[in-house]
């Protein structure tokens, strides 16, 4: 069987010879020449929004998980390239144009669970096989913004509420917890500013 590595992504349309059977969601907007390798990408796409995913033109998405909770929304701009990454939106993750997201990168807009021990204990019960998810205690989520021309290196982690300014480079393996100014280079865990081209 000939497997096409990449196929055009069309809302609701199954890919040819896909190894994976997850439905390609209907509630998304996709631009021209945007390609994907498998519907595996949507294994955990639970968004019930009218538009839960908005993709521009000429985007490449490879071996990546775009996961959303029911109110989650992900937006990705033209010519962005995402390879073997995990992007999880409880609320909102906005990725600009010409963004590179490398192998092993994780981007999340939430901590998924409360920090407080008592609330966290309650959460383990609510999300268990015998619990009710509607009884989950509240937990924080803050939108993530990745502006145009940002490159995120292999195995880097971008946590909730972070805005990465236009043109910045996140070095491989960095863990980014705070906003990054434009045209910066960040490195380490926690990520530190190593160069700023704004002087």
């Amino acid at each position: 069987m000939i497997v096409q590595n990449f196929q055009l992504l069309v809302p609701g349309k199954k890919l040819v010879n896909d190894w994976c059977d997850f439905p390609v969601p209907m509630n998304m907007e996709v631009g021209a020449n945007t390609m994907i390798d498998s519907s595996y990408c949507f294994e955990k796409f639970f968004s019930k929004k009218d538009i839960g995913l908005k993709l521009g033109n000429n985007i490449t998405i490879q071996k990546t998980n775009l996961a959303t909770e029911i109110n989650g929304y992900i937006e990705i701009g033209d010519f962005s390239f995402i390879s073997c990454a995990t992007i999880v939106a409880n609320e909102k993750i906005i990725i600009g144009k010409y963004v590179f997201i490398g192998i092993g990168v994780t981007i999340v807009d939430t901590d998924f669970h409360p920090l407080d021990p008592a609330q966290r204990l309650k959460d383990t019960i609510a999300i268990s096989t015998v619990g009710e998810r509607t009884k989950r205690p509240p937990f924080t989520s803050l939108p993530v913004h990745i502006e145009d021309d940002v490159w995120i290196g292999f195995n880097a982690t971008i946590l909730k509420g972070v805005r990465i300014g236009r043109g910045s480079i996140i070095q491989p393996g960095s863990v980014v917890l705070r906003d990054v100014p434009e045209d910066s280079v960040m490195e380490g865990n926690p990520a530190q500013l190593i160069t700023s081209r704004n002087g």
């Binding site: 069987m1 000939i2 497997v3 590595n5 990449f6 010879n17 190894w19 020449n33 390609m35 390798d37 000429n58 985007i59 490449t60 490879q62 071996k63 010519f79 962005s80 390239f81 390879s83 073997c84 010409y98 590179f100 192998i103 092993g104 021309d149 490159w151 290196g153 292999f154 195995n155 236009r166 043109g167 480079i169 070095q171 491989p172 393996g173 960095s174 280079v185 490195e187 380490g188 865990n189 160069t195």
Partner: protein, 227 residues
């Protein structure tokens, strides 16, 4: 046919080498070479491999790919993997050369790459050009300029989610801690960890030829032949 791998292989209707009972419906690129008793696991690991070189991927004797590794390779890449190597969900990215010697182990999520940005020389405009080129490529392959060979000597152990960056040589017997980012050479038998990397200590270089031969003799008893 000659069928040396530890998994059964066959030629599919298009004449491409495929792995029997592969869960992924694809075949191996024609320039992938499998030595005796090697375990390529699945064609899934090779979907991003686009080398135009004749012999561009070599998996040595009794070496295995387990747990969905990814081998991403550009037009001019060569990935060479020695004997008795364990690749457990490892990502290798090559546009030039990744050379791994015998008895190395790589844990899940580790990245070994001969390609990344040259920060000083990287303008947003140059990076845009790379992405436009990738979007126009039939394989959607993103080629990095100026790759630098990565060399990994014998008996190196790389922990989970560690990143080995372009131009690095990992010395014999060294250990790389999990989540480390390695951008400088690591001396033989060093234990290195952290991001940025820190030298923790040195190990005793006791992995002698005698030790190796003793262990291999045990193998012969179990009827496996050593090349």
């Amino acid at each position: 046919m000659d069928n040396p791998a530890a998994q059964n292989t066959y030629y599919d209707s298009n004449g491409n080498l495929a792995i029997e009972s592969d869960w992924f419906p694809g075949s191996l690129p024609e320039n992938v070479f499998l030595d005796n008793m090697s375990y390529p696991d699945s064609a899934f690991s090779f979907t991003g491999f686009h080398s135009g070189k004749k012999k561009s991927f070599f998996l040595g004797y009794a070496s295995g790919n387990y747990g969905r590794s990814n081998f991403m390779g550009g037009e001019n890449c060569e990935i060479n993997i020695g004997k008795f190597v364990v690749l457990q969900g490892t990502n290798i990215i090559s546009n030039k050369s990744v050379f791994i010697k015998d008895h190395c182990m790589f844990s899940w999520g580790s990245v070994i790459t001969d390609s990344w940005l040259h920060i000083e020389a990287s303008s947003a405009e140059a990076r845009r050009k790379m992405l436009i080129q990738a979007a126009n490529d039939k394989n959607r392959y993103l080629e990095f300029p100026h790759p630098k060979q990565v060399r990994i000597e014998e008996n190196v152990w790389v922990g989970f989610k560690a990143v080995i960056l372009p131009g690095v040589t990992l010395g014999r017997g060294c250990v790389i801690g999990s989540n480390s980012v390695i951008d400088k050479d690591v001396p033989p038998y060093a234990v290195v960890a952290g991001n940025p990397q820190k030298l923790i200590r040195f190990l005793e270089p006791n992995d002698t030829e005698v030790v190796k031969q003793e262990a291999l003799k045990e193998l012969i008893k179990t009827e496996y032949k050593i090349k």
